[in-house]
């Protein structure tokens, strides 16, 4: 089974790199969409069939955690697992993310195997 993925990051370069890394990692990725911030991501989610969201934390307009909050408020989208890919490795931020229902948390920099293992684990647990 291949999963449709939405990559959310304000850096176009990072979006490209994450897309390439996920592709090369061997994770079963189907279609892939990109958004530049949380607000744009919510629009993509409304119009496409998204199975998994990979999101940065710090972004203009709407950050990653605000986006997760908004998704959680909507019954139609709260089932979509969100994985945060961020430079912030603090306990405080991790706990905040977990409390909001974030399914995975990956600190940059990371190796491709780390992203494949995390995404596979998240998708398996989402389909239990």
């Amino acid at each position: 089974m291949a999963y449709n993925v939405l990559i959310v990051d304000d850096s176009q370069t990072m979006r490209k790199v994450i897309r390439k890394t996920v592709t090369l990692s061997g994770f079963a990725m189907g279609d892939c969409w990109e958004a530049g911030d949380g607000q744009e991501a919510l629009e993509v989610v409304k119009t496409h069939n998204i199975d998994l969201i990979l999101s940065d934390l710090n972004m203009p307009r709407m950050n990653g955690l605000e986006m997760v909050k908004k998704l959680g408020e909507d019954e139609g989208y709260r089932h979509i697992p969100v994985v945060l890919i961020t430079t912030d490795g603090s306990q405080e931020r991790l706990e905040e993310a977990q409390a909001l229902g974030v399914k995975g948390y990956l600190q940059k920099p990371f190796h491709p195997e780390a992203i494949r293992d995390l995404l596979t684990r998240v998708m398996e647990s989402s389909h239990v």
Partner: protein
Amino acid sequence: MFENVHQATRAVISKVFETMFYLWAEPCDGGQEQSQASEPPPSFLRGEIGFEGKFSGALRLSLSTGLARKMAINFMGLEKDEVSESQMMDVVSETCNTTCGNLLSHLDKKSAYALTPPRTQPISAEQLHEESQPGSVLLHFDVEGERLRVEIQLES
């Protein structure tokens, strides 16, 4: 405190450059690089990001465009002639972001920090070697023959 910052910065720069770019960063002194007379004069970039929390301040990375190009090639999987200036600047900004986040986690695992959006701009050779700000920690690295200057400015 400053010694902790020195040690943490060495560890973080080494990890970031190895993991993101497959490049080895070794601490070195701040001497100027020797350039060949026949080569064009090098140009430089400086990336900067601010942080606010238990510690506040800014982190600056200064490097040649030659090094920024190598980083972009390895990070994005591009050919040498495919790299644009904006991609190099994006990669330097992302390096500031990743270095700063990891450095703060090293120094203070518990607390969250607010980071400003990183920005990168061209600088002159004179700006590259200018004095560091008061209260700053300054380190230099040799990244496979190219110099990287790292400055962490801490506000009291």
